[in-house]
């Protein structure tokens, strides 16, 4: 498999390309004849003043019922096949519990280490504008090991939010009283956005977090350090 930035975004990408090609073809199949008819059968004095009689055509009607049916069923089935992979985390994925709240995210790692990211951790406090990912304080970043599947178990403390991993192209709502799941894997170190994708009030548009993807050893080191420390740091924000 060719090197992809993130899984399961590659499945989305393929689905997207299939759909795009089919759509462009359908658009042309409808538009070109229409354009031709519009020109050919435009009203012209003395030449085309009256419409001609046209018999209904059963054959055409059947054709444009059957072919679209086959196309959409194919698309839904292709989506079904991809969706199984997009939804079901591979064996051995690292489980992270995410709890959403108004307005921020709590990440809990298997050893109990927690990271909090608040709406004001991603903005410049003076100007209330978004920082770029590299300017966000590392303390608020959720570290993610490079090239390892991550399974997120999500819930919410108050209203419905949605956990959207920007590079992996997956989103799933975090619903109070339920635990939902999604998975992703990022193959290149760097900082990536997570956004809240379900409207949740005033700071909805700042309810973002940064995933810091690092090599596996660096991740292990980070995981063992100061399990409780940054919770203290974050308290004043609550």
């Amino acid at each position: 498999m060719k090197e992809v930035l993130a899984y399961p975004a590659n499945y989305w990408q393929t689905m997207y390309e299939i759909w795009l090609i089919i759509s462009v073809v359908i658009y042309l199949v409808v538009f070109l004849p229409a354009a031709y008819f519009l020109v050919k059968y435009r009203y012209r004095k003395g030449i085309n003043e009256k419409a001609q009689h046209v018999e209904e055509s059963k054959a055409l009607e059947v054709l444009w019922t059957i072919i679209p049916t086959i196309v959409v069923i194919y698309l839904a089935t292709q989506s079904f096949a991809f969706y199984r992979v997009q939804r079901n985390a591979p064996e051995g994925a690292l489980e992270i519990k995410v709890t959403a709240f108004m307005w921020g995210w709590e990440f809990e790692y298997p050893n109990g280490k927690k990271v909090f990211s608040f709406f004001n951790s991603v903005v410049d406090p003076e100007k209330n504008v978004y920082l770029t990912t590299d300017k966000v304080n590392d303390m608020f970043k959720a570290y993610i090991p490079e090239g390892r599947p991550i399974k997120v178990l999500c819930t919410s403390r108050d209203v419905i939010h949605s956990f959207y991993v920007h590079p992996a192209k997956v989103t799933e709502d975090c619903v109070p009283g339920r635990i939902t799941h999604l998975w992703f894997q990022i193959n290149k170190p760097g900082d990536y956005w997570v956004f809240c994708r379900e409207y949740c009030g005033t700071q909805h548009s700042k309810m973002a977090a940064v995933l810091k993807v690092v090599p596996k050893e660096e991740f292990e080191n980070w995981l063992q350090q100061g399990v409780q420390a940054n919770q203290e740091n974050s308290k004043h924000n609550l």
Partner: protein, 539 residues
């Protein structure tokens, strides 16, 4: 037709307008209310676009943005996309079936005044302290939270509108089924009437689900019940199920009438009967029926079990089939026609080809493998703007122009109408097409602000420019319609030479529509243009 000349229906004093039960006056009242609210919602959208021009908050706070977007969504959906059809339906339906009024004229007036009451409530939410910020979907538990603003306003507005729609729907269904003049058989009903029938049936079946949902919301917020509150054993997804059980079908309440208008206009300006009329009728009812079996596609990421998502993905994409049939039939209606490019026809063709984009981008939203990345992104917003913001709006504006001589007895300026349409098409395509792209790049919807990602910034800048051109085009189109009521040339009774019944009475029609209830002859058909010529030759 009429030998005696009457005063037109609209020359009446203020008191007569307020207490009227005349379907035409009520139709006009609906239309004016809808259009005013359309302009309000349009202005709030332009404010939103201005804010999104650059990252950071330049012109408003987050709360103001959220309020403006709630107003935009609620008003565009309920006052414009649903409300405007009450105007067309009330005004035209009795005329098209040869009736003097609807079945229950006083109930009809009541429907309008419920709509008016909802309008007043909506305006009250603009006062400080009443701001609602729960978006048009009003999902709990958020809508139970004080951050969302007074939930009661939202619930009562929905109730008022629901009462209005239900009464109006029952009224128009009964009118259609029982009051058609002799000779207008079910088979000879035009597609406008078929679409409105299906649309009203959907309303009758669907509104109660939404009314139930918002009632439960109201009780949860103010009477300590716990239908949707998970901390006390409720389930927020119950609301989503009830809400979308109505609110998906409601998109067909919005678009089926638009299809009806498109069919009328494309037939008249091609001088041909709609190709495959029977299959068009089957498609309308197919859409109406399937429309009730797809609502989960709005909940593909909401935590419902995966197998349900897959099941509903099949039903969802299948709606593409009857919809496709309609488009193919429209295209073949042009075949061997004698096509005239008058303003309403240009609006119609634009509506069809914009709908095609809206429809083709709706299909992937029904595929969970695709939706997983774009759910609640600007891709979705662009999809429904192509369908509602463009196709529906173009069809409605096409209808304004098409029936303009009927409503006012005058003609609009053809030149300004075309300029308006051109601006609208340029502006909206620039705006909405880039909205797709920024959505594919991941931009979440309902975001007052966004991070400075390079591609997002220029995409948003161009979108805002597009939306301003669009707004300008709408102003040109609306001004032309307004000013032409005074400046327009006197129109003929039947300027488009249509045999459809509404065109066989004078323009504007007299208060009672028909001197005698017409008996339509065997060889008459709303799309039989030869028949009309034969009549002319006889005289």
């Amino acid at each position: 037709m009429a030998a005696v000349s009457y005063k037109p229906y609209f020359s009446a004093g203020l008191k007569e307008w307020i207490f009227t039960t005349d379907h035409k006056k009520i139709g006009i009242m609906y239309g004016v209310t809808s259009l005013i609210f359309f302009l309000i919602a349009g202005l709030s959208a332009l404010a939103i676009r201005l804010e999104l021009y650059q990252p950071g908050l330049q012109h408003m706070s987050e709360d103001t943005y959220n309020q403006a977007l709630t107003v935009h969504g609620v008003v565009m959906q309920f006052w414009w996309a649903v409300g405007i059809w009450s105007s067309f339906g009330n005004y035209l339906l009795p005329l098209m079936i040869g009736a003097r009024d609807v079945a229950f004229p006083r109930l009809n007036a009541l429907s309008y005044w419920f709509f008016f009451a909802a309008s007043v409530l909506a305006l009250l939410t603009l006062l400080p302290g009443n701001h609602i910020k729960m978006m048009w979907t009003g999902y709990p538990p958020f809508s139970l939270n004080d951050n969302a603003g007074p939930t009661a306003f939202y619930a009562l507005i929905v109730h008022m509108l629901g009462a209005s729609s239900l009464a109006s729907a029952i009224n128009l269904v009964v009118t259609n089924l029982t009051m058609r003049a002799p000779g207008i058989t079910l088979k000879k009903m035009n597609l406008f009437l078929h679409s409105f029938l299906a649309m009203n049936v959907i309303q009758i079946l669907g509104v109660p689900a939404l009314a139930g949902a918002v009632t439960m919301l109201l009780m949860d917020k103010y009477f300590q019940t716990a239908f949707f509150d998970p901390t006390r054993g409720g389930d927020p997804l119950l609301y989503q199920n009830l809400f979308w059980f109505y609110s998906h079908p409601v998109v067909y309440v919005m678009i089926l009438p638009a299809f009806g208008l498109i069919s009328e206009m494309i037939a008249v300006f091609s001088r041909r009967e709609i190709f495959g009329k029977t299959s068009m009728i089957i498609a309308i009812w197919g859409i109406a029926l399937l429309g009730f079996m797809v609502w989960i596609h709005h909940m593909f990421t909401s935590g419902v079990p995966d197998w349900i998502r897959i099941l509903f993905s099949y039903t969802t994409v299948l709606i593409g089939v009857p919809t496709g049939i309609k488009i193919f039939n429209w295209v073949f209606t042009l075949y061997k026609g004698s096509v005239r490019f008058k303003t309403p026809m240009l609006y119609t063709l634009s509506a069809i080809f914009m709908f095609l984009i809206g429809g083709l981008t709706g299909i992937p939203l029904g595929l969970p493998a695709f939706d997983i990345a774009v759910h609640d992104s600007h891709f979705v917003v662009a999809h429904f703007h192509y369908v509602l913001g463009m196709s529906l709006t173009l069809a409605a504006f096409g209808g304004f122009h098409y029936w303009y001589p009927k409503y006012t007895g005058r003609m609009y300026s053809e030149l300004w109408a075309k300029i308006g349409l051109l601006l609208i098409m340029i502006g909206s395509n620039l705006f909405y097409f880039l909205q797709f792209i920024v959505g594919l790049e991941g931009m979440p919807r309902r975001y007052a602000d966004y991070p400075p990602i390079d591609s997002w910034i220029w995409l948003h800048e161009l979108q805002t420019i597009g939306s301003m051109i669009l707004g300008f085009g709408i102003i040109v189109a609306v001004l032309n319609l307004l000013l032409s009521t005074k400046l327009g040339k006197k129109a003929e009774d039947n300027p488009w030479s249509s045999p459809s019944l509404e065109w066989l009475v004078p323009s504007p029609p007299p208060p009672h529509n028909f001197d005698k209830i017409p008996h339509m002859p065997e060889d008459w058909d709303p799309y039989n243009y030869e028949w009309l010529e034969k009549q002319h030759r006889k005289h």
